[in-house]
């Protein structure tokens, strides 16, 4: 896979993730209902775990996806390394949030799981990008 393909993949996945995170941030801030097939989205979104020092966790996700998407625009080693680090960190944090949903809140949010899926794809893509240039 060429670097061009990998950059497009990073940009596309980051856009999907940013869309999900933006939707969750909007719903959290405005208190509007979420479309939810799993039935637990609002419980998760309004739980104490949905904010970190007053900042919605979804907004942190949005920031992370924007940062990840930005790395697709650059080719330098430092930026590629930053992209891989962001994806790995986001994936680890997302995995912890799945634990929180299952074990502590007892409710699942489909949008959070979608975001986790996107991060699970971004990890290998960003690492492949890193390997291709190192």
């Amino acid at each position: 896979m060429t670097d061009r393909h990998l950059r497009i993949s990073v940009a596309a996945l980051s856009t999907i993730g940013a869309g999900v995170a933006a939707y969750l941030t909007y719903a959290h801030v405005t208190g509007s209902p979420l479309a939810c097939a799993t039935g637990g989205c609002e419980i998760v979104q309004h739980s104490k775990y949905s904010e970190l020092a007053g900042v919605p966790v979804a907004a942190l996700g949005l920031l992370g996806y924007v940062a990840l998407g930005t790395t697709a625009a650059f080719r330098s080693d430092v930026v590629r390394a930053a992209g891989a680090a962001f994806a790995l960190a986001g994936f680890a944090f997302g995995a912890y949030l799945i634990y929180v949903q299952v074990e502590l809140i007892d409710a699942l949010c489909q949008w959070c799981l979608t975001s986790d899926g996107v991060l699970a794809l971004l990890v290998p893509v960003t690492i492949l990008r890193l390997r291709s240039t190192a």
Binding site: P33, E42, Q45, S47, K48, Y49, Y96, E103, I105
Partner: protein
Amino acid sequence: MSRKRLFVVVAATAILLGGGLIAALVVTTRGSTGPSSTAPAGVAEVATMLRDIPQHGAVLGSPKAPVTLVEFADPQCPYCGDWERTSLPVIVRKYVRSGKVRIVFNGMSFVGSDSEKALRTALAAGEQNRLWNVLALLYLNQGTENTGWVTDALLRGIGNAVPGLDTKKMLASLHSTTVTQKLAAAAALAREAGVNQTPTFAVGRTNKALTLVQITSLEPSGLEPALDAALRE
């Protein structure tokens, strides 16, 4: 930079960043209970209704509000539940959020053992200024009287759903001296006021004598005339 070194830097950065986020969330949500909690209904409605409204103990609303409304209610009383579910959100939106009225919850526990357990939980949450969140969630998840619906799992679930509430601390103080004293003081106030049914309301100018209100409806319109009259005084 060598390939190996680059990967080490990436891994270290990811661990620092991801671990930092996890640690921050763990620290800021300290006191949550583990498994065996029941996810309560109405979390979003309650969060939206009470967002950014000050709470102090059993008081909801600005301390400077010109009018005070006291609610005498039992967490198990179905009529109280009806009022909390249908009228409280309207009263909060129209009068409390705007700073015109503050509401004081005066809990009673005459229906049965579930009443006292629920009330103690709400009062314990009041020590962390989250009484109204817990109370509203109790009413939204109210079960049939004295069937044991106030389970530990429900209380843990409610505690975990309230932002800023230390669930473990709340549950640990259910039988504290402070909570027991507040329970007795609320019962004494209800007796003094001559409350013999719930919900009962008293309205008046803040820090002045309050008057019991005879409501003819559990709809907001049952209480609004009394609040409007007190505001006009």
